[in-house]
Symmetry: D2
């Protein structure tokens, strides 16, 4: 762990970024929540990641530099940006989407057009609270630069950018995210494994007063539900220690040590599926992310920006410039397995974020400790919930 | 006019209802707003009525009896119920729908399921404020009686019933609407011409302090928009006299005589179309009804229950008990003509209600005068807006 | 019908558990969830009931008659109606309120006016799905009968009535709830202990495929939060057995026996507080009920009408007919303890409903078994979660 | 980029109409809609501007440079940013607010927190579509720079920034708005007269295919409504020519010449009042802006971002960091005059924008002509609607 950090420091000393390649490939040896014996229901996809939904790509840019006393504009820097591309970066085809705000102490731009049109037109970007603006305009600039999908200036003019606050560890008022980081996150997005923990937008995040960040998980439905996949990605920055439950076990009460700070943070949750759901059905899916979050103990505190977005990669070419498109829609009565998958994958993605995140020291030497894996196992065992 | 009233009194003395046949057929001679020279934009369908949307049926039951002093439970009765069947009474196939509340001082049951499912499962019923409950349960009873669409008790368990308040003319606390009136309104629903003014749910209504009630209008789109039809039906009970505008002309200020009463009433607006719109697009249509209402001068007062519902008869068999249905969706970019049609037909339906309604005397000898046709023409002429 | 009505009257006189006295007083010996050793956080009020919020009254009317084969209109009857009066039946003073629909497959009338005005004007009524209408109109009739608060016919014209479906045990298509039952539930409402389980609207309900029904709980906040109380009442009819979690323990998987039926039901949750919250803050409270429900395992299935309402008894005389009222508002930043209290009390109220409900046999000899107390304790013990 | 930036700085120094002083003071001679004889109802405040609401300040920064062929990043530039400060720039006290999206094809950041908290924490900024991000982050930077209201980094982290699209006249993809323009707009905000037409965010806007931009108006209520003021400011960029109605007269049909371009644009409407309204009441006010817009003919086209925000300057110190604040609330039943004032002032502000805007030639020599004052008067006269 120590070694990786110093390597990261070297990289960030040079470029201030982790490459997107490293953003996409987790080290083989790093355990995830299931590996530690946390019991979950349901069957995950091959990567147990949002990228199990075909076409979805994720890219991180991670900025880590400096240490010690905070000087606004100089650091320390512990932040980043994550790009989630519903159909990959080569496609400009829109996806049906829906969103939901459980507690709106946060920003998610672009949502009124999602509500109105039913479509998400570009990537989902996640960053820190004070960089939403630069990321938003840079998404437009990326599109202008690539001259697509057409020259009207219309599409992608209302980007979806979400945030959680990393000012405990990061010089958030220093505005360290720049347009080039946004371009890099989009250009570097990949299918396959997704880096979890201190990467991308999740770099400086705190979750239940442990180190938090990015987490992901997925569920694959059985044949009678067409093998649909549901994938979840979270940027987890919420909750107080005493609230934390894992697999129903009061882990936060059992491991009260070194709480990071006393606010209630935020969480952004993105849900992807290949099931053919219409916009109003995707809003239902987004709302279920609340229930997965609740299982980890959060009460969605006043200071928390708990905002969720769901999209479906089914129905390609639904968004036509004119005329009639032909669609498929799954019956409402068949949605229960998708609801369960969403709740389960959300819960697991949050725990994965906690398991993957590593202890970090940042601004003013503030420190957020990682959830200790051995103690987690001991607590699960105490409550007879260790699965392996 | 006097004569018809006395006939109505005889009929209601016997049965307390107008037959649905009469509910469906307006007398040939009765002029509508266009006939009086009110200018409107757009091209109406053959009936200039919501029934121009194929499949839509309307049925009224009208209760008129008694006169003089109000005795709660004994009358005078000036009320009714209107049934609007999206696919006619023989079909149990659901329609996509969306709704909107401009000012929620009213009741429209069943809307949370419309929002959640995207479907409207049964008829739209409109009645007086204090009879919403009996009508709602009776819609379920009607379905139970007919044993359809299947025996589960599930469908049509959440009927959509809306209301406006007729207590100025009617013994609203007497609860005169009974389940059999509901059955009769549904069973008697018909395609073709729709009776306007003092019929059905509109019987005792006041509109801009003139006599109000039911009004309808439609628009037919040109070939490049597939000849789609938009039809509107209103139960108009809103507005103060001084606010009334017709074709942009301040008619209410010009005809200040005999205002009925000083509250701001309510209006229910139903919009039907055969354009293939999804639920979130129908919510957009419903919201446009506000703009048509605004053109007649209303500011949607605090006391007004201004609630609108829109549905599409396209996409038959969209609601499957399980599996995947195949749908069509009109491009968002093609919706503007539908928005215009909705605004225009809403405006015209309200004016049609005013033109059709006849002077009525009701509870405690309260009186609401009809909009005088000759004076309307004179005012339009004064402002150079008379079309014929 | 006349005959059936008189038979019903006789049955009511002989057999029905209708008395409000019994509705209000639970037997001393009946254990609640805490008594069985289920661990909960937080400190309940003296009754651990919604009536711990001063002024709140609850009344049940319970209809139980007949047995064996279902004959529509004749029974068996296993239903009822529950009245929840925010300021008691003697007051016509309105309360600030907010509501939320987690999954809108249900009915809660009156909510558009709650949204629009910020006020709840009368009682909260809970009954079965097919009796919402009769209960709604009867609430108006009750008010007309009592001639208050004034003669305008305006207030209480938009009653709030919610429902869950009891057709597994009850002749729901028989429409057995009559206006007199509604009057009785309101007139009989009382402060103090609240009957849980098979009472009032909860009579025929199923919860996680055990017998469900009414449950309640409360939380009292510490002095630095002014000793505010949060009380919750649920009519619980939701969830599948395998989903049930109690105190984080997978109770449903451990006790799979005799599941009642495979649908996903509904739950109505009412939250009361004496904290001075504005309407938009109460909507936040209502939304937290989702998180308490989630802790018991529900994913809020497609068939579930999961609708929640929250009100505050603070700010008496906020609703003036004109002019300016003087209010108090708790800081948003102080709401977290109220959020926690809501989540905790919701969770406990649901478990209380399960613990209190008793095995019932109803229509067509359908049977719903009570959650076996001894096995619940054994399961909690297995997972080291038994508190006593 | 470095070069371009310095060129921009030079241009700004030489040519740009940036001074806030000019932003605040309209030339004496410029007529407004009333001066031309357009009839409106109601009594305006002394400036007939949003600044008639005490405390409200407005600042514009206007960027106009270059001509001829569009080169992305080089111009021509026809854009700007407008700052609307509810309590002036010296106060960090929050205001109650509510918002509404009539057609969400636009961006208004910060709205989820307005919905959730009931408060608007900082200024309302209006700019072009592709500069929302830079403006948003710059609002945070302005606050950081001024070190207030306290050091937590929390307040003003979720700025409200809205936009309409000026790409017909402006190099919108050139991202010409810089943080310093935002600082200047805020720092230069003033009470008193407000520049209308081609200023601030309104610089490059098109309205009903005439030149559009900023417009404002106000209404003062009579003594029995406590002399409350309602002020409206619009950034008007919406509508097609044929739709335009002024005072109910079909002006757009009468003056069809030189339509600017065929899309349906957007409109941002801000409503200020000193009436003591709670957040849910302000949402009602925001919704009424739709009705004022409708009176000018718009049907709120698919491409239009029609988003409205309302705030109240009453209830100072409502937002406490903890504890209980003491508030006033106007009765719902007294809101009708405020609804009328909102509708009327919105209508007048839009017409004022049209009257004040001047013919502009911009990118690729695109041209938008001003509404010709003489022809407007002639059309009003034709329809007997000229007031002077």
């Amino acid at each position: 762990m120590q070694k990786r950090r110093s390597v990261a420091a070297i990289i960030t000393g040079l470029l201030l970024t982790c490459s997107n390649a490293t953003g996409a490939m987790p080290p083989v040896s790093k355990p995830r929540a299931r590996d530690l014996g946390v019991p979950f229901r349901g069957t995950p996809g091959p990567e147990n990641a949002i990228t199990d939904v075909a076409g979805v790509e994720v890219g991180h840019v991670t900025l880590i530099s400096g240490a010690g006393k905070l000087v606004v504009g100089r650091g320390p820097v512990r932040t980043g940006v994550t790009a989630l591309l519903p159909r990959g970066k080569e496609s400009a085809d829109q996806v049906f989407a829906g969103w939901y705000s459980l507690n709106g102490n946060g920003e998610m731009t672009g949502t009124t057009w999602v509500d109105e049109s039913g479509f998400l037109e570009g990537p989902i970007m996640i960053t820190n609270t004070h960089s939403v603006g630069v990321v938003r305009d840079a998404v437009i600039a990326w599109r202008v630069k690539h001259g697509r999908p057409e020259g009207s200036g219309y599409w992608w003019s209302l980007p979806l950018v979400a945030e959680t606050w990393d000012g405990f560890l990061n010089d958030v008022n220093g505005f360290h995210i720049k347009p080039e980081h946004v371009f890099e996150a989009i250009d570097g997005a990949r299918a396959g494994p997704v880096r979890e923990g201190n990467f991308g937008g999740g770099t400086g995040m705190i979750c239940y007063e442990f180190k938090g960040g990015i987490g992901t998980a997925s569920r694959r439905l059985p044949a009678q539900l067409y093998h649909y996949t549901v994938g979840v990605l979270v940027q987890c920055n919420c909750g107080r220690r005493s609230q934390l439950q894992i697999a129903g076990v009061p882990v936060g009460i059992e491991i009260p040590d070194h709480p990071a700070y006393g606010d209630t943070g935020s969480i952004i949750i993105a849900v992807a599926t290949d099931a053919p759901l219409l916009p109003h059905q995707l809003k239902r899916i987004a709302r279920r992310a609340s229930l997965g979050l609740a299982r980890t103990g959060s009460v969605s505190g006043n200071g928390s920006g708990d905002m969720f977005v769901a999209f479906s990669t089914a129905n390609p070419r639904a968004a036509l410039p004119s005329g009639i498109s032909h669609l498929e829609m799954l019956s409402n009565d068949d949605m229960n397995p998708l609801f369960e998958a969403t709740v389960e994958a959300t819960e697991e993605a949050i725990v994965n974020a906690l398991v993957a995140a590593e202890t970090m020291t940042g601004a003013d030497d503030h420190k957020a400790i990682a959830l200790p894996h051995d103690r987690l196992r001991a607590v699960l065992k105490k409550y007879n919930r260790l699965s392996r």
